[in-house]
Amino acid sequence: MLGTRTASRLRPFGPDYRRRWRFIAALALAALAIGTTAIYAYSTNALRTRLLMAIPDTIPANVTLNAYAMSRGTVAFAQHCASCHGQHGQGDVVRGAPNLRDHDWLYGSGRVIEIERVVLYGIRSANSKGWKLASMPAFATSNPYKLYQLSPLTPQEINDVTDYILSFQGRSADAAAIERGTKVYRSPVRGLCWDCHGERAQGNSAIGAPNLTDDIWLYGDGSRASIYNSIAYGHAGSCPAWISRLSPLTIRAVAVYVHNLSATASATPSSRDMHE
């Protein structure tokens, strides 16, 4: 028997010869698979490390890092952000979720690091590092503002301020109402609107106060009724702090993705244009 086996091994295409090469091939395949996985894991890990260690604002200019961040950010955005901001980041004026595809930033100026801060710590999220300096008072309620004492406005005053805001787009012709509205807007005791929205109503991105002179609306369609309602009932939109729920890598990827949504937008359309 042994003699036969030895003989068959010697034959180039005998059964043992074939078995040997099958086994070698299997081992080689396994080694190849493990090697490929290891190389992929190493390169991915290297990419991950580079993305996390990079200065956030420099990432969009780096093709490799940007592509990697976008691939992860697209998925994460769809899973965690799209429920408010929309599948394509177009926002929702009913919910007060900002359009992320324009160049109009409520907080900051659209830098990756600023977006990352919002994703990390949220807006009015109760996280002490989040944005929460101000919210829109509800001037038609008995206690318009929680943070400090503000008097309610009368319906006439709310109407007048509405006219003042509409005048920025040339949509109010009532000069007397505009003048009265300007007084309420600039009053240090009644409306106090200028305190957040600025003397010229151009907003303040340091506290998330929208620019009132453009035609971009966070809530509603910019109609008289929707502006009136905003002043009467107030707003305090929020964004959760994701720091304890998403990995730093995912958060950075989402920040890069959102930055790119804006950067690739051609021009800032008005909210009313988008409704039409």
């Binding site: 040997r20 580079r50 109760a126 309620t141 009368t154 319906p155 009932y233 890598l249």
Partner: protein, 332 residues
């Protein structure tokens, strides 16, 4: 009957016929023998590969798991202080806040200075935790309560109710959704003049009412009868009118039509007359109009329920002992 042992095979035959599962002596077949045959070299090789793979996976898991003690700073962090991370994002923001310039323009000296500040802060925070300030310092307690509340409500904040849920909620609470209503009334008061009797003051008030009803100009009537226009005929939403007019006058104003003049109403500070200019009662809002308010209320409702459920759970697992003087009356 035959002896059962008589049918057994002789010992010599048993030794020759090998049972199917019997161990066969290992032969040196080389590494690549027939797969159905036992091969020590091959077994040892596969065993070694298996062990090494297992150790590799276990080691990777062990040294990369969260909270693993490590001497390597994770890429998302700029430093680890007693294994507590300082996020790069926080570092960049703090540097930009302190220096007022973009991070990539900050000098190395500035960066190191800020880094040192953050390390110092982390050391002090950790010392504070050691000293249990989380339990004793009120500001820290407030911050902890706020953060935990936020964590509890995070799902509600991020989830969006469907239109069907909102519509259902709106239908259940339809009476809550109404416009604010508006009242514009002149609140005219005849002060109780010293030296005049109540009857005389009331008589003057009635004359003033007659003058107003007969179309007399407001300014002239005010001057002629010594009336004071308390609210300068400003308009108010319903709830504000109730505050400004007081319950009695508010109830009166609600039932008046535009242009109506009320009868004199005696109160503690004098006699009031209402001249109603506009009265727009609150009306129910459609779902579309009230949608934002419905959504806000819907979420608030869910937040309340989730907070209650969480507190119930925390109470359930906690051991709460109440002093004997309150134990009988204490109810969560």
């Amino acid at each position: 009957m035959s002896d059962p042992t008589s049918s057994a095979q002789p010992p010599t035959q048993t030794a020759q016929a090998e049972p199917p599962n019997a161990f066969r002596p290992v032969k040196a077949l080389g590494l690549f023998g027939k797969s159905s045959e036992i091969n020590v070299s091959r077994a040892m090789l596969l065993y070694t590969v298996g062990v090494l793979t297992g150790l590799g996976i276990a080691g990777y898991g062990l040294f990369t798991a969260q909270n693993t003690l490590t001497n390597t700073v994770p890429p998302e962090d700029v430093a680890l202080v007693n294994q507590r991370p300082i996020l790069r994002s926080d570092f960049i923001t703090q540097l930009e806040n302190e220096t007022g310039q973009n991070f990539d323009r900050a000098s190395k000296i500035d960066r190191l200075h800020v880094l040192d500040e953050m390390v110092t802060e982390e050391l002090l925070v950790q010392r504070g935790l050691e000293l249990d300030y989380g339990e004793t310092d009120q500001d820290t307690r407030n911050a902890l309560v706020a953060v935990v509340n936020q964590q509890i409500l995070a799902d509600v904040t991020t989830s969006q109710p469907s239109d069907r849920q909102l519509l259902e909620y709106y239908n259940q609470h339809r009476t809550h959704y109404a416009t604010l209503g508006k009242i514009r009334a002149c609140n005219l008061m005849l002060p109780a003049a010293t030296g005049s009797t109540a009857a005389a003051v009331m008589s003057t008030a009635r004359d003033a009412v007659r003058a107003l009803r007969s179309g007399g100009a407001l300014d002239q009537v005010l001057k002629r009868f010594g009336l004071v226009n308390i609210n300068k005929c400003d308009d108010d939403v319903y709830f504000a009118a109730k505050i400004h007019l007081g319950d009695e006058l508010y109830e009166l104003a609600k039932g008046m039509a535009a242009g109506a003049i009320s009868e004199p109403v005696p109160t503690a500070d004098g006699i009031h007359i209402l001249k109603l200019i506009e009265n727009t009662p609150p009306v129910g809002m459609s779902f579309d109009t009230a949608r934002e308010n419905v959504q806000s209320d819907f979420k608030m409702d869910r937040e309340t329920r989730i907070t209650d459920a969480t507190l119930k759970f925390l109470r359930h697992r906690a051991k709460i002992l109440i002093g004997s003087d309150y134990a009988a009356d204490y109810k969560p």
